[in-house]
C-alpha cells in the first residue's frame, strides 16, 4: 500500500521527527499556557489598580518563553519514550497511529487523556477570555428593553426616506451581483481543478487564481467598502464595488466547485467528435453547470441584499446609511421602522429566490 513507506531516507526521517516534535511542542505549550491562565484567574491575583486581573491582563503576564521551553522538553521526552508511555498526538498525526494503540479506546492511551484535557482547557480558557458572564446575561435584561420596545413601536417618521433607500439597497445588491456574474463565470474555468491539468501554464494559472480568490474572500466586504469609499467617495457606488469584489470571489469558489463535480462523459464525447477545446467547454461543460450557477447566483444576490445594509453603516449607501446615526442617537422607534423594512425585504428575497431555484433546478 502506498501509505506504508517501504524505505525512508535519513533526511526524510529527520524532517518527520522535527515535524512531530514541533507539533507536540505547540500542543503541549498551548495546554500549559491555558493552564497557567486558569491558574492565575482562579488564584485571585490583583493588579496595580487593586481589581482582579482581567483575562487581557493575564494574557500579558503569562510565561510564554519558559513554558514553550518546558513544552519542548516534554515533547522530546514523550517522543523518546513513546513505546513505553504511549504515542504522542504529534507522532500519531505525522506518522500514523502505532498498531498497538489503534484499537484502544481513548481512555486507555496517554494521548487520549492529553486531548481530553486539551478540549476541557479550551472551553475554560474560552469562557475566561471572552468574559462570559451568565449572571449579567440573565439579570440585566431591563436595559435592553428600551430598544426592544422601540423596535416593537416603529415610528413613521423615516418611512418615506427608508423606502427610497430600500430601493437603492436592492439595486445596489443587483448591480454588484449582475456585474460579478460574467467575470466570475470566466475566472471559474481557470479555478476548476479538473479543467486545468493539461499543461504547466494552466496549473500555475489555477494556483494563482485560487490563491488570489482565497485572499479576496478572506477580506470582509466591510473592509472592501472602506477601501472603495476612500477610492470613489461615500455613496452607493462604493457599496456596489465592495459587494462586487466580494461576490466575484465567492461566486468563483462556488462556480468552480460545481465545475469540478461535473460528469466528464459528455466532455469525452464532444472531444471525440473532433471539437476544439472551447467547443468541448461550451457543449460538454456549460450545459451541466447552468442550473447550479443560477442557483448560486440567486443565493448570492440574496446575501448581497443583506450585506448592503451593513455596508451602508460605514458609508456604502443604501438603507444602512440612515440606520447608523439613529442607532447612535438611540432613536429606537425609527430604528425599528428601518429594521422592519429590511426584514420584510430579506424575507421577500428569500421567498422569491427559493421559488426561482425550485423552478430552474
Amino acid at each position: 500500500m502506498s501509505t506504508a513507506a517501504p524505505e525512508i531516507n535519513p533526511v526524510h526521517k529527520a524532517v518527520l521527527r522535527l515535524q512531530t516534535v514541533l507539533l507536540d511542542t505547540v500542543l503541549i505549550a498551548s495546554l500549559l499556557l491555558m493552564g497557567e491562565l486558569q491558574w492565575v484567574a482562579f488564584s485571585g491575583q490583583r493588579g496595580s489598580t487593586g481589581l482582579l486581573l482581567s483575562a487581557e491582563e493575564i494574557l500579558k503576564v503569562l510565561h510564554y518563553g519558559m513554558l514553550a521551553l518546558v513544552a519542548f522538553f516534554i515533547a522530546t521526552a514523550w517522543n523518546l519514550f513513546y513505546r513505553d508511555i504511549g504515542c504522542s498526538p504529534g507522532r500519531a498525526w505525522v506518522r500514523g497511529e502505532p498498531p498497538w494503540e489503534r484499537d484502544l479506546p481513548w481512555q486507555h492511551t496517554l494521548r487520549g487523556w492529553f486531548l481530553a484535557l486539551f478540549i476541557e482547557f479550551s472551553f475554560f480558557t474560552g469562557w475566561l477570555i471572552t468574559e462570559v458572564n451568565l449572571a449579567t446575561f440573565l439579570t440585566k435584561f431591563s436595559k435592553a428593553w428600551d430598544i426592544v420596545r422601540g423596535l416593537l413601536h416603529p415610528s413613521g417618521a423615516v418611512l418615506d426616506q427608508g423606502l427610497i433607500l430600500l430601493v437603492q439597497t436592492v439595486f445596489l445588491a443587483f448591480m454588484a451581483t449582475a456585474f460579478a456574474i460574467p467575470i466570475a463565470f470566466l475566472i471559474s474555468f481557470l479555478a476548476a481543478r479538473n479543467l486545468t491539468r493539461q499543461s504547466l501554464a494552466f496549473r500555475i494559472t489555477y494556483t494563482v487564481v485560487r490563491t488570489t480568490m482565497n485572499f479576496v474572500r478572506a477580506v470582509e466586504p466591510l473592509v472592501w467598502a472602506l477601501i472603495f469609499i476612500s477610492w470613489v467617495g461615500i455613496g452607493p457606488f462604493a457599496g456596489v464595488l465592495a459587494l462586487w469584489v466580494a461576490s466575484i470571489a465567492s461566486l468563483v469558489k462556488l462556480y468552480s466547485e460545481s465545475i469540478e463535480s461535473i460528469d466528464t462523459g459528455p466532455m469525452d464525447a464532444i472531444a471525440a467528435t473532433g471539437a476544439s477545446y472551447l467547443q468541448v467547454l461550451r457543449y460538454g461543460v456549460v450545459p451541466q453547470i447552468i442550473p447550479p450557477f443560477l442557483s448560486f447566483t440567486i443565493y448570492r444576490w440574496d446575501i448581497n441584499v443583506r450585506m448592503s445594509t451593513i455596508i451602508g453603516f460605514v458609508g456604502g449607501g443604501g438603507i444602512g446609511y440612515i440606520l447608523k446615526p439613529r442607532v447612535d442617537l438611540g432613536e429606537w422607534g425609527e430604528v425599528g421602522t428601518l429594521v422592519l423594512l429590511i426584514a420584510v425585504t430579506v424575507w421577500l428575497m428569500d421567498l422569491v429566490s427559493a421559488k426561482i431555484r425550485e423552478r430552474i433546478v
Binding site: 460528469d263 462523459g265 459528455p266 469525452d268 464525447a269 464532444i270 472531444a271 471525440a272 467528435t273 473532433g274 471539437a275 476544439s276 472551447l278 467547443q279 461550451r282 457543449y283 460538454g284 450545459p287 451541466q288 447552468i290 442550473p291
Partner: protein, 270 residues
C-alpha cells in the same frame, strides 16, 4: 453510396503497433498490443473489466494518450498528430460510450448536431447555431435510428436504449469511416441490446464503416463479430473468428470461474 470503393486503395483501416499505456498512478493498462483492422471489419474486443478494453479504444482516437507504440488510421499516424490535424482525424472516427454521454439538458436534435462541431464554424458553434443543411442531415441521422419524432425532446427524457441510439446518430453526424463502441449495451436492459447492436451492425454492413466494439455478452459477440481479439491484464490474449470461440477459450480469457452461458454478461463495469 458505395463507401468501400470511395476510400483510398489501402485495405487497412487501423493499425495498432506495440501500444502501451502506463497511467500516472503506475497502473500498466495496456502492454505491447498490436492489432490490424481491415476496412469493413466488425472487430469485437473481449476481456474482463479492467483488462484494458476501454483504454485501447480511447487510445485509438487519442482521448487517452498512449505511453508507447503507434496507431495508424488509414495509414496516417494519429499518435503523431496534434491540434487541428488531430481534430480532423477524430472527425472520421465516431465514438459510442457505455454511459451514452449525451448532454442531458440539450434537445435530442442539439445532441446530434454536436457531432458536426469538428467541421463547423467555430464562433457560430459557440452560439449553438448550425446551418440548415446540417440540421437537415441531423434529422436524417435521427430518422435512421428511428427517433425522428423525438428530435425536440430533452435528451434525458428518453429511455436508455433510445439515448444510445441518439448517441449513434451523433456519431453518424460526423460522417465517420470508423466507429469505436465502448461497451455500447452494457448499461441497457438485456431485451434492448439487439435494438442498439442492430443499428451499429447496419453502419458496418450498409455503409461499410469499420467497427471496433467491446462487448461482454457471448451471444452478442457470436452474433455480430467478424473477428475477435481478447485482452487479459492489458495484453493481447487471444485472436480469432467468432466460430472458434469455444468454452475453453472463453474460460482462458475470463478465468476459470466464468460461465459462457446464454445471456450472461460477465463482470459488467459500473
Amino acid at each position: 453510396m458505395s463507401a468501400v470503393a470511395s476510400m483510398p486503395a489501402t485495405q487497412e483501416a487501423i493499425r495498432i503497433e506495440h501500444l502501451g499505456k502506463t497511467f500516472p498512478s503506475g497502473v500498466r493498462a495496456l502492454d505491447d498490443v498490436s492489432v490490424t483492422v481491415r476496412e469493413g471489419e466488425f472487430l469485437v474486443v473481449l476481456g474482463l473489466s479492467g483488462s484494458g478494453k476501454s483504454t485501447l479504444l480511447r487510445c485509438i482516437n487519442r482521448l487517452i494518450d498512449p505511453t508507447d507504440g503507434k496507431v495508424f488510421i488509414f495509414g496516417i499516424e494519429i499518435t503523431a498528430l496534434a491540434g487541428s490535424a488531430l481534430r480532423a482525424m477524430r472527425r472520421r472516427i465516431g465514438m459510442i460510450f457505455q454511459q451514452f454521454n449525451l448532454v442531458k439538458r440539450h434537445s435530442v436534435l442539439d445532441n446530434v448536431l454536436s457531432g458536426a462541431l469538428g467541421r463547423g464554424h467555430m464562433m457560430r458553434s459557440l452560439f449553438m447555431s448550425f446551418t440548415p443543411d446540417e440540421v437537415a442531415f441531423a434529422r436524417a441521422c435521427l430518422q435512421r435510428v428511428g427517433l425522428a419524432d423525438r428530435a425536440g425532446e430533452r435528451a434525458d427524457r428518453l429511455s436508455g436504449g433510445q439515448q444510445q441510439r441518439v448517441a449513434i446518430s451523433r456519431a453518424l453526424m460526423q460522417r465517420p469511416r470508423i466507429i469505436l463502441a465502448d461497451e455500447p449495451v452494457a448499461s441497457l436492459d438485456p431485451a434492448l441490446r439487439h435494438s442498439v447492436m442492430r443499428h451499429i451492425e447496419a453502419l458496418n454492413r450498409e455503409e461499410g464503416m469499420t467497427v471496433i466494439c467491446s462487448l461482454h455478452d457471448i451471444d452478442l459477440v457470436k452474433r455480430y463479430a467478424s473477428r475477435i481479439v481478447a485482452l487479459k491484464a492489458g495484453r493481447l490474449a487471444w485472436e480469432g473468428r467468432p466460430e472458434d470461440l469455444d468454452a475453453a477459450t472463453f474460460r482462458a480469457i475470463y478465468g476459470e470461474d466464468a460461465e459462457p452461458a446464454s445471456n450472461s454478461s460477465v463482470g459488467e463495469e459500473p
